[in-house]
């Protein structure tokens, strides 16, 4: 048990290091000068040069990288070129918004997909199963931003029930916060729900044809009982894998949905920082995202072992 964990930790650390180098190099070769962008169209060349010096952009790349990584290791993400403030606290602020969005969407996706996917599998020869299957197929084809625009059109503009966007911190006003979160979470979650429904359906279908389920039935369990007691846990393994992979999709979707709903999350911070060439901020955000995805993969691995004792030994 110890060795695999050590191995995974090593892989994790190496992945983060490689990712940090890639992000750093990518930002270094991206055309556009951060000093010039910060100073605007009227800046004189002398001013730009002076600002580059202040930003530390004239140092060798290796020094810049080591300086940045050294700071990160001691929890300091550096100071933004644009806002002149430490990046770390901003990152945490923005991450909070994105986590609510992604977490809520994941919850909605599960609440939709587990029952619907199971129904679609159990009744796959009946019309109701086919309808669920067809609707989920349709849902997969809708991009999250389109779902968002449609939801706003109906629930914010036509009916006026919910705000069309904006963010209220939960500590300030929990009710407003919840209201504001409903449409973004739905636009991300409904589409994810449709995707995951497909996986739940095929996974349950596989389980339904297994011998152990027939054995369970022959011992006198009704189909539903047999499925719940012996089937769902087995069906869950591939679904968890997919959920882990979908998290990356959800994060990308969140970037777009944050734009549609004007949410101050990590995605909108990333887009702003790229366009203003706020290099340290971009590097910090991408690093946080990479670590997040790697962490989820790690957790998925652990979850396998919980769900399926057979995988613990391998």
């Amino acid at each position: 048990m110890i060795l695999p964990i050590l191995r995974r930790t090593a892989i994790f650390v190496v992945s983060v290091l490689v990712a940090s180098v890639v992000v750093f190099l990518f930002m270094a070769v991206l055309p556009g000068d951060p000093a010039q962008v910060a100073l605007g169209v009227n800046a004189t060349p002398e001013l730009v040069a002076q600002t580059r010096q202040e930003f530390g952009l004239n140092r060798p790349l290796v020094t810049q990288y080591l300086d940045w990584m050294g700071g990160i290791l001691s929890g300091d993400f550096g100071r933004s070129y644009v806002t002149k403030e430490p990046i770390g606290p901003q990152l945490i602020d923005r991450l909070g918004v994105t986590l609510w969005l992604v977490g809520g969407a994941m919850l909605v996706a599960l609440l939709i997909s587990v029952p619907l996917g199971t129904i679609a599998a159990v009744r796959h020869r009946r019309p109701s199963g086919a309808v669920v299957s067809g609707v989920s197929q349709l849902g997969m084809a809708v991009p999250a931003f389109l779902a968002g625009i449609l939801l706003v059109q109906v629930f914010a503009i036509q009916l006026g029930w919910l705000p069309s966007g904006g963010w209220t911190p939960p500590v300030r006003d929990p009710v407003e916060w919840l209201y504001g979160l409903i449409l973004p979470v739905l636009s991300l979650g409904l589409v994810q729900g449709a995707v995951v429904t497909r996986y739940v359906r095929s996974s349950v279908l596989d389980v339904l044809s297994e011998d152990y389920l027939r054995t369970a039935r022959s011992k006198g369990l009704r189909p539903g009982q047999a499925l719940v007691r012996h089937g769902l846990r087995n069906a869950a393994v591939p679904v968890v894998t997919v959920l882990g992979l979908q998290l990356a999709t959800l994060l990308v979707g969140a970037v777009v949905v944050e734009r549609v709903f004007v949410l101050p999350g990590l995605g909108s911070m990333l887009l702003d920082s790229v366009s203003s060439r706020d290099l340290l901020a971009v590097q910090g955000i991408v690093l946080v995202l990479v670590v997040g995805v790697l962490l989820v993969n790690f957790l998925v691995d652990v979850l396998y072992a919980v769900l399926d004792p057979r995988l613990r030994r391998s």
């Binding site: 991206l30 055309p31 556009g32 000068d33 010039q36 962008v37 910060a38 100073l39 605007g40 169209v41 009227n42 800046a43 004189t44 001013l47 600002t51 644009v82 806002t83 002149k84 403030e85 901003q90 602020d93 923005r94 625009i149 706003v152 914010a156 503009i157 006026g160 705000p163 069309s164 966007g165 904006g166 963010w167 911190p169 734009r259 549609v260 709903f261 004007v262 949410l263 101050p264 999350g265 909108s268 911070m269 887009l271 702003d272 366009s275 203003s276 060439r277």
Partner: protein, 472 residues
């Protein structure tokens, strides 16, 4: 929106990255803070006229190099300190010593600032300058307190009627009416400046009661839906934003005036405006917005004439011209570029459109690198016709006569100034130094209950002080 009658929410597109316009350039910070949080000695009203603000009045010496400002009494900063002539001296001198943005050069003409008495400040210029007093209406004229500049990026301290109460990065800034303001209190107690990167989201927010005002509609297709809705007023005015098809005057083949004239004649600007910006905006024909004192309608100087364009190209010996049109990846520029390319195609000029990430890549390659044949960008600064006197500017336009006239205009008395500036405008048009496609419109949409909105956007500020509430 919000609680109580006295709260107003206004939607904007560009969010201030911080509150310090002395070191961070761009229009977003002065748009939010100038006249609302910071005040200067003078301000620009909605008609583009210079009017008194912290200066009750001022006199000018006969040679127009000495300005005597009589200051209002009983003015305080939001930190409680009194505003006196000492602060005028401190603020104006600080522009040259501490400011980091290039606009600081606007104060180079100031020789010294004298404190005659607490309510009397004297500014001595090294030469007469018309543009100096005009520039005082902008951010370089903002008054600071020596005790209020410790954390400009986060904590602005000004003499204006509002104070920054709260900021939610990526979302909004709340301005709170402060007590003890020297002038008359503005109508709204709280104003929430809300920022939308996405024009559709801003439109939706007004439609769904999330905000009360759209400061400027940036998607022209959305305007009719507000005009048709009885809940809203739509105001259409002008801005200082000339959308310019720039020619690289310094590099063949566009160093030849004949070629530039031919390209200018080849483009039907009225059709371009209709296609690219739904016909909103006005045709100008030179680098002068309609609100400047020396405005003159030059939009017919080069009427659309493809036949003549072909002729001129032949005279210049240019066949099979192939030009690179390197434009910012912004909606107005991209849609204008399509029309330009198809119009020029009709006279036998092949245009390759290259969209560039704005601002970073465009600034680096076109603006600083001068690596382009043509570009399209909106020039938003006030009175930026002076850029044609700078041969290093990305136009690459080098005309000593224009430089002379600009210098004369700056030191001249008002009437002569206007005459000279008209000459400059006509000269650059005659030279086809660029092609002024159209003047960007200012379209404001607001709930009917909001009154006093400025029709034109001519100053650097979105002035909240004149707003009011209709009785309903």
């Amino acid at each position: 929106v919000g609680d109580g009658e006295s709260t107003l929410a206004v939607g904007f597109t560009a969010e201030p990255k911080n509150f310090d316009f002395t070191t961070t350039d761009g229009s977003a910070i002065p748009q939010a803070l100038l006249y609302n949080v910071y005040e200067g000695l003078v301000k620009l009203d909605a008609n583009g006229e210079i009017v008194p603000l912290l200066a009750e009045s001022w006199t000018t010496s006969p040679d127009r190099t000495v300005y005597d400002f009589q200051l209002h009494e009983g003015v305080t900063f939001s930190n409680g300190d009194e505003f006196t002539a000492e602060d005028v001296k401190f603020s104006l001198e600080r522009v040259t010593s501490e400011w980091a943005i290039s606009l600081k050069s606007k104060m180079d003409v100031v020789e010294r600032v004298e404190v005659v008495d607490p309510t009397h400040a004297r500014v001595v210029l090294s030469r007469p300058s018309n543009s100096w007093l005009f520039d005082l209406t902008g951010r370089v004229g903002a008054m600071f307190s020596p005790t209020g500049v410790d954390d400009l990026a986060n904590d602005p301290v000004g003499t204006g009627p509002y104070d920054v109460a709260d900021r939610r990065r990526g979302d909004s800034i709340s301005l709170q009416r402060r007590t003890g303001y020297w002038g008359s209190d503005p109508a709204y107690e709280t104003v929430i400046l809300t920022y939308f990167q996405n024009p559709t989201a801003m439109n939706n927010a007004l439609l769904s009661n999330g905000i009360d005002v759209i400061s400027s509609i940036t998607a022209p297709y959305a305007i009719p839906q507000f005009e048709a809705d009885t809940r809203f007023n739509v105001l259409q005015g002008t801005t200082n934003g000339e959308v310019v098809l720039s020619y690289n005057n310094a590099r063949p083949p566009l160093d030849d005036p004949k070629v530039r004239r031919a390209l200018t004649l080849a483009i039907d600007r009225e059709a371009l405006l209709a296609t690219a910006w739904a016909g909103r905006g006005t045709l100008i024909g030179s680098m002068v917005p309609r609100t400047d004192p020396w405005y003159e309608d030059l939009s017919d100087y080069y009427p659309h004439d493809p036949e003549r364009a072909r002729q001129l190209l032949a005279e210049a010996g240019q066949q099979d011209l192939n030009l690179r049109l390197r434009v910012p990846n912004l909606p107005y520029a991209m849609s204008s570029a399509q029309v330009v390319a198809s119009e020029l195609d009709k006279v036998g000029v092949t245009v390759t459109i290259e969209p560039l990430d704005f601002p970073a890549v465009w600034l680096q390659q076109v603006f600083n690198g001068h690596d382009y044949d043509m570009s399209i960008v909106q020039h938003v600064e006030a009175r930026d016709i002076t850029t044609f006197g700078d041969s290093d500017y990305y136009w690459g336009y080098d005309n000593p006569r224009v430089r002379e006239m600009l210098a004369e205009a700056d030191v001249a008395a008002m009437e002569q100034q206007i005459e000279r500036m008209r000459e400059v405008a006509r000269t650059i048009t005659e030279d086809a130094a660029a092609n002024w496609l159209f003047l960007f419109p200012n379209v404001v949409a607001a709930k009917k209950s909001v009154t006093g909105l400025p029709r034109n956007q001519v100053s650097e500020s979105f002035d909240l002080t004149g707003l009011g509430r209709a009785e309903s």
